[in-house]
């Protein structure tokens, strides 16, 4: 079996992550994508209606997990951490914020993967994990 040749740069070394981060990232992004789609459907029907307490708890749980990754410079909205339940955020508010988070999660992912080659060809994108080559999708943002 040919060995994967790793050519990590200094930049990549500073962006090293762990396998647990990758697993957590995958969970957060997939759940957030689904939640955003569900709320978008609600938002089309009644954009100004407040999000239910149950859904908002779930949204805040997603945001709290995402905030672990999205520290500056990846922070989506300056000064925003979680939704305030008392403020009764609307469906459209929550969709807007979740979409901002999804964009920034992709930025974060793009900054934590690099391209490798196998024997000089067969390029592939993998996560920046020292000693591991977990495949990652092609980056979609700078």
């Amino acid at each position: 079996m040919p060995k994967v040749t790793r050519k990590a740069t200094d930049q990549q070394e500073s962006n090293y992550i762990t396998q647990a981060d990758v697993e957590m990232f995958g969970k957060v992004r997939s759940q957030m994508t689904k939640l955003s789609a569900d709320l978008e459907a609600l938002s089309k029907k009644s954009p100004d209606a407040p999000v239910s307490k149950f859904k908002l708890t779930f949204v805040n749980e997603m945001l709290r997990d995402a905030n672990r990754f999205l520290t500056p410079p990846f922070k989506p909205i300056e000064g925003f951490e979680l939704f305030d339940d008392v403020a009764l955020p609307s469906n459209s508010d929550s969709v807007m914020v979740l979409n901002q988070y999804l964009t920034c999660l992709e930025n974060w992912r793009s900054a934590h993967i690099h391209e490798t080659t196998r024997d000089g060809f067969n390029k592939q994108w993998v996560w920046n994990i020292p000693g591991e080559s977990i495949p990652a999708g092609r980056p979609t943002s700078g």
């Binding site: 009644s46 209606a49 407040p50 307490k53 008392v86 403020a87 009764l88």
Partner: protein, 457 residues
């Protein structure tokens, strides 16, 4: 402290929502506009309540039989004494003083046990049947007879609930207590809550026994049984007196009607003490409010106040029980308020009770384009006694910055809190009332939290 439309619980500083207790919370200067319907006991799945119904009927028939066995005078006196139960506080009497039946009316009731063979032999199966046989006996009287005959149970029920909710009681003599074993009236000294002004004892009535109209009633009989009688059977006359006379001579018709009511017993439910308006009605009212111009032209202010009163009473239920709407005049200006009991059912209501001393919450409605300083001053002057130091403007638009600063200054100087609900807030309240995703009162909580955040720390 003078409360608006005081209730027994609020008077004693026990702030519970009507929704959260088993009994109808009595008013101190007014009756509860509902009646005890004995049919609700008959149809109850609870053995205790069906037993109470049996005891009620047995006691009533026992009084009837007294009359036919040589104790007519006693029976008449007992019926008269049982015909009013002032301790229950049900009905429409604003001053809570009802009147007993006359001797002639008591004799009419007694005559049923003498002149109708069926009643003479088996007695009545439902006390409500008296409405269909004797003129002048209606839902209020049936309710009073029921409460009087079940007074012993109601005393226990009242004592239990007073202990549970912390309502203070006093040793008080209860008169007109019927002893079915010895068939005579007696009195007893028991611990019951009393009216603080008159010192009259108060009995608590289970909510589940109350209806606006008894399941068996004269109008129902007339519409569903009497008018459907084959031609030639029913007499020509359709006056109440003709119908009652016909019934006394044709008791089978009454029995058939009673049977039909028993067969549809599943549909019989108690009436709530407050009925929320339906969602469609709330949306219609909100649509009408949105179309109203600001100001007084075309009586827009009166219409605005009417719609808001109906909307808020429903939107804020059951967290806030509506007390009443009332008008006042300040500096020549007519002002309409809505008063709610502060039941402390939600965390922030507890906080405003503690911080601002609000036993009742006042909403002042202003159909104006912009709240002026004078409006704030008028409301400020009103913040005394039971209203504590918090009130709520219901108005069309957000406050101008200068007025916003004004109310924050009022808080800084006197710790008085003035909240504002605008059209946008009402829109949200109506939306969540429909979607059920949130409680409309959370919009009020948001206004409160926003205000506290705007105040200097």
């Amino acid at each position: 402290m003078t409360l608006v439309r005081p209730r027994l619980t609020d008077h004693h500083g026990i702030l519970v929502a009507q929704e959260s207790v088993d009994f109808a919370i009595p008013f101190l200067d007014d009756d509860i506009p509902l009646y005890v319907d004995p049919f609700l006991l008959w149809k109850s799945p609870s053995m205790q309540e069906t037993s109470l119904h049996i005891a009620l009927i047995s006691a009533f028939n026992g009084i009837g039989r007294m009359a036919t066995t040589g104790r007519k005078r006693d029976a008449r006196r007992i019926l008269i004494e049982l015909s009013e139960c002032t301790e229950a506080g049900l009905g429409q009497a604003r001053n809570r003083v009802g009147r007993r039946i006359s001797e002639a009316k008591a004799d009419e009731i007694i005559s049923l046990f003498e002149s109708i063979p069926d009643v003479q032999a088996q007695g009545l199966q439902h006390i409500e049947a008296v409405q269909l046989l004797v003129d002048g006996i209606a839902k209020d009287r049936i309710s009073d007879f029921t409460c009087s005959l079940l007074k012993s149970f109601l005393i226990d029920f009242t004592m239990h609930n007073c202990k549970k909710t912390g309502i203070p009681t006093e040793k008080v003599a209860i008169e007109n207590l019927y002893d079915p074993a010895r068939r005579h009236m007696t009195s007893e000294v028991v611990d019951l809550p009393v009216n603080p002004e008159t010192k009259a004892p108060i009995l608590l009535i289970p909510k589940r026994w109350l209806r606006f109209m008894p399941w068996i009633n004269y109008d129902g009989f007339f519409d569903n049984a009497y008018v459907k009688l084959a031609s030639g059977v029913a007499p020509e006359g359709r006056e109440r007196i003709d119908v009652l006379a016909f019934n006394r001579h044709n008791f089978g018709v009454v029995k058939d009607y009673l049977d039909s009511r028993q067969k549809t017993a599943l549909d019989c439910r108690n009436d709530p003490l407050f009925r929320q308006i339906p969602i469609t009605s709330a949306k219609t009212k909100w649509a009408a409010i949105k179309k109203l111009p600001t100001g007084t032209g075309g009586a827009a202010d009166k219409k605005y106040e009417g719609y808001i009163e109906q909307l808020l009473a429903s939107l804020l239920y059951p967290q806030l029980d509506f007390a009443q709407g009332q008008s006042r005049t300040d500096s020549g200006a007519h002002i309409r308020d809505l008063i709610f009991y502060n039941n402390r059912g939600v965390d922030f209501l507890e906080e405003i009770h503690e911080k601002y001393g609000c036993s009742q919450i006042v909403f002042e409605m202003k159909n104006v384009r912009e709240i002026q300083r004078e409006h704030v001053n008028q409301l400020n002057r009103y913040l005394v006694d039971h209203f504590g130091r918090l009130a709520i403007f219901v108005t069309r638009n957000p406050l101008p910055n200068s007025i916003q600063r004004n109310i924050v200054d009022l808080w800084s100087a006197h710790r008085k809190c003035i909240l504002v609900l605008t059209d946008d807030d009402l829109q949200t309240m109506v939306t969540v009332f429909e979607s059920k995703q949130r409680m409309p009162i959370e919009v009020l909580k948001r206004a409160y939290v926003d205000f506290t955040r705007a105040c200097p720390s």
